[in-house]
Protein backbone atom coordinates (compact mmCIF):
# COMPACT_ATOMS: atom_id res chain seq x y z
CA UNK A 1 0.00 0.00 0.00
CA UNK A 2 1.06 3.56 -0.44
CA UNK A 3 -0.27 6.89 0.67
CA UNK A 4 -3.82 7.17 -0.71
CA UNK A 5 -5.02 10.21 -2.62
CA UNK A 6 -6.65 12.78 -0.33
CA UNK A 7 -10.42 12.58 -0.66
CA UNK A 8 -12.47 15.75 -1.05
CA UNK A 9 -13.71 16.97 2.33
CA UNK A 10 -17.44 17.82 2.50
CA UNK A 11 -18.98 20.43 4.77
CA UNK A 12 -22.64 21.11 5.58
CA UNK A 13 -24.09 24.56 6.26
CA UNK A 14 -21.84 27.56 6.72
CA UNK A 15 -19.59 28.81 9.50
CA UNK A 16 -22.48 31.10 10.49
CA UNK A 17 -25.07 28.31 10.92
CA UNK A 18 -24.37 28.02 14.65
CA UNK A 19 -23.14 31.56 15.44
CA UNK A 20 -21.62 30.76 18.82
CA UNK A 21 -19.07 28.40 17.26
CA UNK A 22 -17.45 31.24 15.26
CA UNK A 23 -14.26 31.25 17.41
CA UNK A 24 -13.56 27.67 16.32
CA UNK A 25 -13.88 28.51 12.62
CA UNK A 26 -11.96 31.79 13.03
CA UNK A 27 -9.20 29.69 14.56
CA UNK A 28 -9.26 27.22 11.66
CA UNK A 29 -8.96 30.11 9.18
CA UNK A 30 -5.86 31.26 11.08
CA UNK A 31 -4.37 27.76 11.25
CA UNK A 32 -5.09 27.37 14.98
CA UNK A 33 -7.17 24.81 16.86
CA UNK A 34 -9.39 26.86 19.18
CA UNK A 35 -11.72 24.98 21.56
CA UNK A 36 -14.17 25.93 24.28
CA UNK A 37 -12.95 25.47 27.84
CA UNK A 38 -15.44 25.15 30.71
CA UNK A 39 -14.84 28.18 32.94
CA UNK A 40 -15.77 26.31 36.12
CA UNK A 41 -14.02 22.96 35.57
CA UNK A 42 -11.23 24.12 33.19
CA UNK A 43 -11.97 21.07 31.03
CA UNK A 44 -11.66 21.49 27.26
CA UNK A 45 -14.74 20.39 25.32
CA UNK A 46 -15.23 18.43 22.08
CA UNK A 47 -17.25 19.02 19.92
CA UNK A 48 -17.25 22.84 19.98
CA UNK A 49 -20.27 24.48 21.57
CA UNK A 50 -21.14 27.70 23.37
CA UNK A 51 -22.08 26.23 26.73
CA UNK A 52 -20.40 23.74 29.02
CA UNK A 53 -21.90 20.23 29.03
CA UNK A 54 -20.26 19.78 32.44
CA UNK A 55 -22.05 22.67 34.21
CA UNK A 56 -24.33 24.41 31.66
CA UNK A 57 -22.12 27.38 32.57
CA UNK A 58 -19.99 29.60 30.33
CA UNK A 59 -17.03 28.64 28.19
CA UNK A 60 -13.89 30.49 27.16
CA UNK A 61 -12.38 29.86 23.72
CA UNK A 62 -8.67 29.03 23.87
CA UNK A 63 -6.05 27.77 21.45
CA UNK A 64 -4.78 24.27 22.21
CA UNK A 65 -1.42 22.77 21.25
CA UNK A 66 -2.67 20.60 18.42
CA UNK A 67 -0.61 17.72 19.76
CA UNK A 68 -2.22 14.40 20.48
CA UNK A 69 -2.20 10.64 20.17
CA UNK A 70 -4.41 8.25 18.21
CA UNK A 71 -7.12 6.79 20.53
CA UNK A 72 -8.72 4.59 17.86
CA UNK A 73 -9.17 4.46 14.08
CA UNK A 74 -10.71 2.63 11.15
CA UNK A 75 -9.65 2.59 7.53
CA UNK A 76 -12.70 2.89 5.29
CA UNK A 77 -11.57 0.42 2.64
CA UNK A 78 -14.88 0.56 0.80
CA UNK A 79 -14.55 4.27 -0.01
CA UNK A 80 -12.81 5.58 -3.10
CA UNK A 81 -10.31 6.84 -2.21
CA UNK A 82 -10.06 5.10 1.17
CA UNK A 83 -9.67 7.26 4.26
CA UNK A 84 -8.72 6.75 7.90
CA UNK A 85 -11.25 8.03 10.43
CA UNK A 86 -10.01 8.34 14.00
CA UNK A 87 -10.45 9.79 17.43
CA UNK A 88 -7.36 11.71 18.53
CA UNK A 89 -6.81 12.33 22.23
CA UNK A 90 -5.54 15.89 22.49
CA UNK A 91 -2.76 16.78 24.94
CA UNK A 92 -5.31 19.01 26.68
CA UNK A 93 -7.69 16.08 27.31
CA UNK A 94 -10.65 15.75 24.99
CA UNK A 95 -10.85 13.19 22.21
CA UNK A 96 -11.95 14.58 18.85
CA UNK A 97 -13.15 12.89 15.69
CA UNK A 98 -10.80 13.48 12.76
CA UNK A 99 -8.94 11.77 9.91
CA UNK A 100 -5.31 10.69 9.92
CA UNK A 101 -3.80 11.89 6.62
CA UNK A 102 -0.52 11.83 4.68
CA UNK A 103 0.36 8.33 5.87
CA UNK A 104 0.26 4.80 4.53
CA UNK A 105 -2.82 3.65 6.46
CA UNK A 106 -1.21 0.35 7.43
CA UNK A 107 1.21 2.38 9.55
CA UNK A 108 -1.52 4.00 11.70
CA UNK A 109 -1.37 2.67 15.27
CA UNK A 110 -3.20 3.39 18.51
CA UNK A 111 -1.02 5.61 20.68
CA UNK A 112 1.01 7.13 17.85
CA UNK A 113 1.85 10.82 18.17
CA UNK A 114 0.13 13.13 15.73
CA UNK A 115 0.08 16.83 14.91
CA UNK A 116 -2.36 19.23 13.27
CA UNK A 117 -2.83 19.83 9.57
CA UNK A 118 -5.64 22.02 8.24
CA UNK A 119 -7.33 20.96 5.01
CA UNK A 120 -9.73 23.12 3.01
CA UNK A 121 -13.26 21.73 2.73
CA UNK A 122 -15.25 21.75 -0.51
CA UNK A 123 -17.15 24.73 -1.87
CA UNK A 124 -17.10 27.71 0.43
CA UNK A 125 -16.46 25.58 3.51
CA UNK A 126 -13.77 26.41 6.08
CA UNK A 127 -10.45 24.63 6.57
CA UNK A 128 -10.87 21.87 9.16
CA UNK A 129 -8.38 20.22 11.53
CA UNK A 130 -6.83 16.90 10.46
CA UNK A 131 -3.84 15.06 11.89
CA UNK A 132 -0.59 13.66 10.51
CA UNK A 133 2.23 11.71 12.17
CA UNK A 134 4.23 13.98 14.51
Amino acid sequence: MAIAAQRKIPFVGTVDTNPETKPFFDGCAAGKLVLPQCVATKKFIWYPRGISPFTLGPVEWKEVSGKGTVYTYSVMERANPPYCIAYVELAEGPKMMTNIVDIDFKDVKIGMNVKLKFIQTEGDGPPMPFFTPA
Binding site: T21, P53, Y71, P94, K95, M96, N99
Partner: protein, 389 residues
Protein backbone atom coordinates in the same frame (compact mmCIF):
# COMPACT_ATOMS: atom_id res chain seq x y z
CA UNK B 1 -44.30 1.85 41.66
CA UNK B 2 -42.54 -1.05 39.93
CA UNK B 3 -43.44 -1.72 36.34
CA UNK B 4 -42.66 -5.43 36.78
CA UNK B 5 -45.52 -7.41 35.31
CA UNK B 6 -47.56 -4.31 34.44
CA UNK B 7 -47.88 -5.54 30.86
CA UNK B 8 -47.80 -8.66 28.71
CA UNK B 9 -46.77 -9.02 25.08
CA UNK B 10 -49.78 -10.73 23.53
CA UNK B 11 -49.12 -9.99 19.86
CA UNK B 12 -45.84 -10.23 17.98
CA UNK B 13 -45.60 -10.32 14.21
CA UNK B 14 -42.76 -9.95 11.77
CA UNK B 15 -43.33 -9.06 8.13
CA UNK B 16 -42.05 -11.88 5.91
CA UNK B 17 -40.87 -9.52 3.17
CA UNK B 18 -37.20 -8.69 2.75
CA UNK B 19 -37.70 -6.63 -0.43
CA UNK B 20 -40.90 -4.63 -0.76
CA UNK B 21 -40.63 -2.86 -4.09
CA UNK B 22 -44.42 -2.75 -4.46
CA UNK B 23 -45.36 -1.41 -1.02
CA UNK B 24 -45.05 1.91 0.78
CA UNK B 25 -43.55 2.28 4.24
CA UNK B 26 -46.97 3.18 5.67
CA UNK B 27 -48.57 0.08 4.16
CA UNK B 28 -45.85 -2.08 5.69
CA UNK B 29 -46.52 -0.48 9.10
CA UNK B 30 -50.24 -1.18 8.76
CA UNK B 31 -49.73 -4.79 7.61
CA UNK B 32 -47.51 -5.35 10.63
CA UNK B 33 -50.18 -3.85 12.90
CA UNK B 34 -52.81 -6.20 11.46
CA UNK B 35 -50.48 -9.17 11.79
CA UNK B 36 -49.79 -8.48 15.47
CA UNK B 37 -53.49 -7.88 16.24
CA UNK B 38 -54.45 -11.15 14.53
CA UNK B 39 -51.71 -12.93 16.46
CA UNK B 40 -53.13 -11.60 19.72
CA UNK B 41 -56.75 -12.25 18.82
CA UNK B 42 -57.62 -8.57 19.03
CA UNK B 43 -58.94 -6.03 16.54
CA UNK B 44 -58.00 -2.52 15.55
CA UNK B 45 -60.78 -1.09 17.69
CA UNK B 46 -59.26 -2.64 20.81
CA UNK B 47 -56.14 -0.46 20.44
CA UNK B 48 -56.14 2.63 22.66
CA UNK B 49 -52.44 3.54 22.55
CA UNK B 50 -49.96 3.75 19.67
CA UNK B 51 -46.17 3.95 19.56
CA UNK B 52 -43.83 4.49 16.64
CA UNK B 53 -40.42 6.05 15.95
CA UNK B 54 -38.51 7.84 13.22
CA UNK B 55 -39.15 5.17 10.59
CA UNK B 56 -42.84 6.17 10.48
CA UNK B 57 -43.36 8.71 7.70
CA UNK B 58 -44.82 12.10 8.47
CA UNK B 59 -45.42 13.37 11.96
CA UNK B 60 -45.12 10.01 13.69
CA UNK B 61 -48.29 8.98 15.50
CA UNK B 62 -50.39 11.75 13.94
CA UNK B 63 -49.79 10.46 10.42
CA UNK B 64 -49.94 6.77 11.25
CA UNK B 65 -53.03 6.97 13.46
CA UNK B 66 -54.81 8.78 10.63
CA UNK B 67 -53.63 6.26 8.00
CA UNK B 68 -54.63 3.21 10.04
CA UNK B 69 -57.89 4.68 11.35
CA UNK B 70 -57.00 4.20 15.01
CA UNK B 71 -58.73 5.82 17.97
CA UNK B 72 -56.26 6.20 20.83
CA UNK B 73 -55.88 8.07 24.09
CA UNK B 74 -52.13 7.73 24.53
CA UNK B 75 -49.21 7.93 22.08
CA UNK B 76 -45.42 8.21 22.03
CA UNK B 77 -42.86 8.67 19.27
CA UNK B 78 -39.59 8.60 21.17
CA UNK B 79 -37.02 8.12 18.41
CA UNK B 80 -33.76 6.60 19.52
CA UNK B 81 -33.08 4.63 16.34
CA UNK B 82 -33.04 0.84 16.47
CA UNK B 83 -33.68 0.63 20.21
CA UNK B 84 -36.87 2.71 20.03
CA UNK B 85 -39.08 -0.39 20.24
CA UNK B 86 -37.61 -1.68 23.50
CA UNK B 87 -38.08 1.87 24.80
CA UNK B 88 -41.69 1.80 23.54
CA UNK B 89 -42.38 -1.40 25.51
CA UNK B 90 -41.20 0.36 28.67
CA UNK B 91 -43.27 3.44 27.92
CA UNK B 92 -46.31 1.28 27.18
CA UNK B 93 -45.88 -0.33 30.60
CA UNK B 94 -45.85 3.12 32.20
CA UNK B 95 -49.07 4.02 30.39
CA UNK B 96 -50.77 0.76 31.40
CA UNK B 97 -49.62 1.05 35.01
CA UNK B 98 -51.01 4.57 35.31
CA UNK B 99 -54.34 3.72 33.70
CA UNK B 100 -53.72 5.68 30.52
CA UNK B 101 -53.76 2.69 28.17
CA UNK B 102 -55.11 -0.85 27.93
CA UNK B 103 -53.95 -2.13 24.54
CA UNK B 104 -50.73 -0.65 23.13
CA UNK B 105 -49.68 -1.10 19.49
CA UNK B 106 -46.02 -0.63 18.50
CA UNK B 107 -44.99 -0.70 14.82
CA UNK B 108 -41.78 -0.50 12.78
CA UNK B 109 -41.32 -0.69 9.02
CA UNK B 110 -38.99 0.48 6.28
CA UNK B 111 -37.62 -0.28 2.85
CA UNK B 112 -33.96 0.79 2.70
CA UNK B 113 -33.20 -2.11 0.34
CA UNK B 114 -35.76 -1.08 -2.26
CA UNK B 115 -34.64 2.51 -1.90
CA UNK B 116 -31.03 1.53 -2.57
CA UNK B 117 -29.57 3.01 0.59
CA UNK B 118 -25.85 2.46 1.18
CA UNK B 119 -26.79 2.14 4.81
CA UNK B 120 -23.46 1.31 6.36
CA UNK B 121 -20.82 2.81 4.12
CA UNK B 122 -22.07 6.23 3.01
CA UNK B 123 -21.80 9.13 5.48
CA UNK B 124 -25.21 10.78 5.73
CA UNK B 125 -25.34 14.56 5.95
CA UNK B 126 -27.92 15.80 8.41
CA UNK B 127 -29.01 19.32 9.19
CA UNK B 128 -26.06 21.59 10.05
CA UNK B 129 -28.11 22.69 13.07
CA UNK B 130 -27.67 19.18 14.49
CA UNK B 131 -25.01 20.22 16.97
CA UNK B 132 -22.24 17.76 16.08
CA UNK B 133 -22.83 17.71 12.33
CA UNK B 134 -20.30 20.33 11.21
CA UNK B 135 -17.63 18.79 13.45
CA UNK B 136 -18.12 15.19 12.34
CA UNK B 137 -19.46 15.03 8.77
CA UNK B 138 -16.22 16.34 7.21
CA UNK B 139 -14.45 13.27 8.61
CA UNK B 140 -16.67 10.75 6.83
CA UNK B 141 -18.48 9.04 9.71
CA UNK B 142 -20.49 6.14 8.25
CA UNK B 143 -22.24 3.52 10.31
CA UNK B 144 -19.60 0.86 9.59
CA UNK B 145 -16.52 2.88 10.52
CA UNK B 146 -18.13 4.16 13.73
CA UNK B 147 -18.63 0.60 15.00
CA UNK B 148 -15.24 -0.36 13.55
CA UNK B 149 -13.51 2.22 15.75
CA UNK B 150 -15.08 0.52 18.79
CA UNK B 151 -13.73 -2.81 17.56
CA UNK B 152 -10.22 -1.39 17.02
CA UNK B 153 -10.15 -0.04 20.56
CA UNK B 154 -11.66 -3.20 22.08
CA UNK B 155 -8.99 -5.28 20.35
CA UNK B 156 -6.31 -2.92 21.67
CA UNK B 157 -7.50 -2.96 25.28
CA UNK B 158 -8.57 -6.60 25.63
CA UNK B 159 -6.87 -8.55 22.86
CA UNK B 160 -10.15 -9.36 21.13
CA UNK B 161 -9.56 -10.90 17.67
CA UNK B 162 -11.32 -10.87 14.31
CA UNK B 163 -11.74 -14.63 14.63
CA UNK B 164 -13.62 -14.19 17.92
CA UNK B 165 -15.90 -11.59 16.35
CA UNK B 166 -16.47 -13.96 13.43
CA UNK B 167 -17.94 -16.60 15.77
CA UNK B 168 -20.92 -14.27 16.28
CA UNK B 169 -21.72 -14.34 12.56
CA UNK B 170 -21.11 -18.08 12.47
CA UNK B 171 -23.68 -18.59 15.24
CA UNK B 172 -26.22 -16.35 13.51
CA UNK B 173 -25.76 -18.27 10.27
CA UNK B 174 -26.35 -21.62 12.01
CA UNK B 175 -29.73 -20.25 13.09
CA UNK B 176 -30.61 -18.52 9.81
CA UNK B 177 -30.35 -21.77 7.83
CA UNK B 178 -33.68 -22.75 9.42
CA UNK B 179 -35.45 -19.44 8.69
CA UNK B 180 -37.04 -19.52 5.22
CA UNK B 181 -37.35 -15.71 5.25
CA UNK B 182 -33.70 -15.01 6.13
CA UNK B 183 -31.65 -13.15 3.54
CA UNK B 184 -28.46 -15.13 4.24
CA UNK B 185 -29.22 -18.83 4.83
CA UNK B 186 -25.83 -20.37 4.13
CA UNK B 187 -23.89 -21.54 7.16
CA UNK B 188 -20.54 -19.72 7.24
CA UNK B 189 -17.24 -20.46 8.98
CA UNK B 190 -14.82 -18.24 10.88
CA UNK B 191 -12.60 -18.36 7.81
CA UNK B 192 -15.45 -17.21 5.56
CA UNK B 193 -15.94 -14.15 7.78
CA UNK B 194 -12.31 -13.10 8.16
CA UNK B 195 -11.63 -13.69 4.47
CA UNK B 196 -14.61 -11.62 3.32
CA UNK B 197 -13.72 -8.16 1.95
CA UNK B 198 -12.72 -5.52 4.47
CA UNK B 199 -15.37 -2.79 4.70
CA UNK B 200 -14.07 -0.60 7.53
CA UNK B 201 -11.09 -2.12 9.31
CA UNK B 202 -11.23 -4.29 11.33
CA UNK B 203 -14.80 -5.14 10.25
CA UNK B 204 -15.28 -7.36 7.20
CA UNK B 205 -18.32 -7.63 5.01
CA UNK B 206 -19.61 -10.60 7.00
CA UNK B 207 -19.19 -8.70 10.29
CA UNK B 208 -22.02 -6.44 9.07
CA UNK B 209 -25.79 -6.93 9.18
CA UNK B 210 -27.93 -7.19 6.06
CA UNK B 211 -29.83 -4.31 4.51
CA UNK B 212 -33.47 -5.32 4.21
CA UNK B 213 -37.01 -4.09 3.86
CA UNK B 214 -39.72 -5.23 6.22
CA UNK B 215 -41.06 -4.49 9.64
CA UNK B 216 -42.76 -5.80 12.73
CA UNK B 217 -45.33 -4.99 15.37
CA UNK B 218 -46.09 -5.76 19.01
CA UNK B 219 -49.20 -5.63 21.18
CA UNK B 220 -48.63 -4.91 24.87
CA UNK B 221 -51.62 -5.11 27.17
CA UNK B 222 -52.60 -5.21 30.81
CA UNK B 223 -52.71 -8.51 32.76
CA UNK B 224 -56.52 -8.80 32.80
CA UNK B 225 -56.76 -8.61 29.02
CA UNK B 226 -53.71 -10.82 28.44
CA UNK B 227 -55.25 -13.56 30.57
CA UNK B 228 -58.53 -13.39 28.63
CA UNK B 229 -56.77 -14.17 25.34
CA UNK B 230 -55.78 -17.56 23.97
CA UNK B 231 -52.05 -16.91 23.56
CA UNK B 232 -49.24 -18.08 25.87
CA UNK B 233 -48.53 -15.48 28.56
CA UNK B 234 -45.34 -13.50 28.01
CA UNK B 235 -44.91 -11.10 30.90
CA UNK B 236 -42.62 -8.05 30.82
CA UNK B 237 -40.63 -8.22 34.06
CA UNK B 238 -37.84 -5.73 33.44
CA UNK B 239 -37.20 -2.63 31.35
CA UNK B 240 -34.34 -0.15 31.20
CA UNK B 241 -33.20 2.62 28.89
CA UNK B 242 -30.02 4.69 28.88
CA UNK B 243 -28.09 7.04 26.58
CA UNK B 244 -24.34 7.07 26.02
CA UNK B 245 -22.42 9.73 24.13
CA UNK B 246 -19.10 11.53 23.74
CA UNK B 247 -19.39 13.12 27.20
CA UNK B 248 -17.96 16.45 26.07
CA UNK B 249 -14.83 14.74 24.78
CA UNK B 250 -14.37 12.00 27.40
CA UNK B 251 -14.92 9.38 24.70
CA UNK B 252 -14.72 5.74 25.84
CA UNK B 253 -15.51 3.35 23.01
CA UNK B 254 -15.19 -0.01 24.76
CA UNK B 255 -18.57 0.38 26.53
CA UNK B 256 -22.10 0.54 25.18
CA UNK B 257 -25.18 2.04 26.82
CA UNK B 258 -26.17 -1.48 27.88
CA UNK B 259 -23.88 -0.90 30.85
CA UNK B 260 -26.52 1.53 32.14
CA UNK B 261 -29.79 0.19 30.62
CA UNK B 262 -29.14 -3.34 31.93
CA UNK B 263 -28.92 -2.77 35.71
CA UNK B 264 -32.37 -1.18 36.19
CA UNK B 265 -33.92 -3.96 34.08
CA UNK B 266 -32.13 -6.70 36.05
CA UNK B 267 -33.11 -5.05 39.34
CA UNK B 268 -36.77 -4.77 38.35
CA UNK B 269 -36.91 -8.37 37.15
CA UNK B 270 -35.21 -9.87 40.19
CA UNK B 271 -33.25 -12.24 37.96
CA UNK B 272 -29.61 -12.29 36.85
CA UNK B 273 -27.84 -12.95 33.52
CA UNK B 274 -27.19 -16.62 34.32
CA UNK B 275 -30.98 -17.15 34.63
CA UNK B 276 -31.58 -16.14 30.99
CA UNK B 277 -32.35 -19.08 28.69
CA UNK B 278 -32.43 -17.09 25.45
CA UNK B 279 -31.09 -13.64 24.50
CA UNK B 280 -31.93 -11.43 21.54
CA UNK B 281 -28.96 -9.07 21.27
CA UNK B 282 -28.85 -6.20 18.79
CA UNK B 283 -26.54 -7.20 15.97
CA UNK B 284 -25.89 -4.37 13.56
CA UNK B 285 -22.30 -5.65 13.56
CA UNK B 286 -20.52 -8.48 15.31
CA UNK B 287 -18.78 -6.01 17.65
CA UNK B 288 -22.18 -4.67 18.73
CA UNK B 289 -23.14 -8.10 20.09
CA UNK B 290 -19.81 -8.65 21.84
CA UNK B 291 -19.82 -5.32 23.68
CA UNK B 292 -23.48 -5.60 24.72
CA UNK B 293 -22.98 -9.14 26.09
CA UNK B 294 -20.21 -7.79 28.31
CA UNK B 295 -22.13 -4.70 29.33
CA UNK B 296 -25.28 -6.69 30.17
CA UNK B 297 -23.23 -8.87 32.51
CA UNK B 298 -23.20 -12.16 30.58
CA UNK B 299 -19.41 -12.15 30.99
CA UNK B 300 -16.71 -9.95 32.47
CA UNK B 301 -15.70 -6.79 30.61
CA UNK B 302 -13.09 -7.70 28.05
CA UNK B 303 -13.97 -11.40 28.06
CA UNK B 304 -16.57 -11.15 25.29
CA UNK B 305 -14.21 -12.61 22.72
CA UNK B 306 -13.75 -15.80 24.70
CA UNK B 307 -17.45 -15.90 25.60
CA UNK B 308 -18.71 -15.90 22.00
CA UNK B 309 -16.13 -18.39 20.68
CA UNK B 310 -16.57 -22.06 19.84
CA UNK B 311 -20.31 -21.86 19.24
CA UNK B 312 -21.32 -20.59 22.68
CA UNK B 313 -24.15 -18.55 21.08
CA UNK B 314 -25.51 -21.43 18.95
CA UNK B 315 -28.81 -22.94 20.10
CA UNK B 316 -28.36 -26.53 21.23
CA UNK B 317 -24.57 -26.12 21.31
CA UNK B 318 -23.61 -23.21 23.57
CA UNK B 319 -24.63 -21.77 26.90
CA UNK B 320 -26.40 -18.67 25.60
CA UNK B 321 -28.50 -19.18 22.46
CA UNK B 322 -28.87 -15.80 20.74
CA UNK B 323 -30.81 -14.41 17.78
CA UNK B 324 -32.28 -17.76 16.75
CA UNK B 325 -34.05 -16.21 13.75
CA UNK B 326 -30.66 -15.32 12.27
CA UNK B 327 -30.93 -11.76 13.57
CA UNK B 328 -29.81 -8.68 11.73
CA UNK B 329 -26.59 -10.40 10.75
CA UNK B 330 -28.39 -12.95 8.56
CA UNK B 331 -32.19 -12.53 8.52
CA UNK B 332 -33.29 -8.90 8.34
CA UNK B 333 -32.76 -5.36 9.62
CA UNK B 334 -35.93 -3.56 8.53
CA UNK B 335 -35.66 0.23 8.31
CA UNK B 336 -32.04 -0.22 9.46
CA UNK B 337 -33.56 -0.78 12.90
CA UNK B 338 -33.41 -4.19 14.48
CA UNK B 339 -35.03 -3.58 17.85
CA UNK B 340 -38.50 -4.95 17.22
CA UNK B 341 -37.39 -8.18 15.57
CA UNK B 342 -35.27 -8.85 18.67
CA UNK B 343 -38.41 -8.73 20.83
CA UNK B 344 -40.44 -10.80 18.37
CA UNK B 345 -37.94 -13.69 18.37
CA UNK B 346 -37.76 -13.59 22.17
CA UNK B 347 -41.57 -13.88 22.29
CA UNK B 348 -41.44 -16.82 19.86
CA UNK B 349 -38.91 -18.57 22.08
CA UNK B 350 -40.97 -18.04 25.24
CA UNK B 351 -44.11 -19.29 23.50
CA UNK B 352 -42.26 -22.34 22.16
CA UNK B 353 -42.98 -21.12 18.63
CA UNK B 354 -39.41 -20.72 17.36
CA UNK B 355 -38.25 -23.08 14.60
CA UNK B 356 -37.93 -26.56 16.18
CA UNK B 357 -34.26 -26.73 15.16
CA UNK B 358 -33.45 -23.64 17.25
CA UNK B 359 -36.15 -23.73 19.94
CA UNK B 360 -34.59 -23.51 23.41
CA UNK B 361 -35.94 -26.20 25.74
CA UNK B 362 -37.99 -24.99 28.73
CA UNK B 363 -37.45 -21.41 27.67
CA UNK B 364 -39.04 -19.41 30.49
CA UNK B 365 -36.78 -16.33 30.77
CA UNK B 366 -35.53 -14.24 27.86
CA UNK B 367 -34.01 -10.89 27.10
CA UNK B 368 -34.27 -8.54 24.12
CA UNK B 369 -31.71 -5.74 24.05
CA UNK B 370 -31.51 -2.94 21.48
CA UNK B 371 -28.95 -0.31 20.54
CA UNK B 372 -30.00 2.68 18.46
CA UNK B 373 -27.79 5.35 16.95
CA UNK B 374 -24.05 4.88 16.66
CA UNK B 375 -21.84 3.03 19.10
CA UNK B 376 -18.97 5.30 18.02
CA UNK B 377 -20.66 8.60 18.84
CA UNK B 378 -24.02 8.66 20.60
CA UNK B 379 -26.60 5.96 21.08
CA UNK B 380 -29.34 4.66 23.35
CA UNK B 381 -29.45 1.17 24.78
CA UNK B 382 -32.71 -0.36 25.90
CA UNK B 383 -33.28 -3.65 27.67
CA UNK B 384 -36.44 -5.73 28.00
CA UNK B 385 -36.62 -8.88 30.16
CA UNK B 386 -39.50 -11.31 29.57
CA UNK B 387 -40.92 -14.28 31.44
CA UNK B 388 -43.16 -17.09 30.27
CA UNK B 389 -45.91 -17.33 32.88
Amino acid sequence: MSLKGAGYIVGAWEHPTRKATDKSVTLLHAECAKGALDDAGLTKDDVDAYYCAGDAPGLGPMSMIDYMGLKVRHMDSTDVGGSSYQVAVGHALEAIATGRANVCLITLAGRPRSEGQATGTAPRAGSPAQPEMQFEYPYGPATANMYAMCATRHMHEYGTTSEQLAWIKVAASHHAQHNPHAMLRDVVTVEDVVNSPMVASPLHRLDCCVISDGGGALIVTKPEIAKSLKRPLVKVIGVGEAPKNQAGGAVDLVYSAARWSGPPAWEMSGIKPSDIKYASIYDSFTITVLMQLEDLGFCEKGQGGKFVSDGNLISGVGKLPFNTDGGGLCSNHPANRGGITKIIEAVRQLRGEAHPAVQVKNCDLAMAHGTGGSLGTRHVGSTVILERE
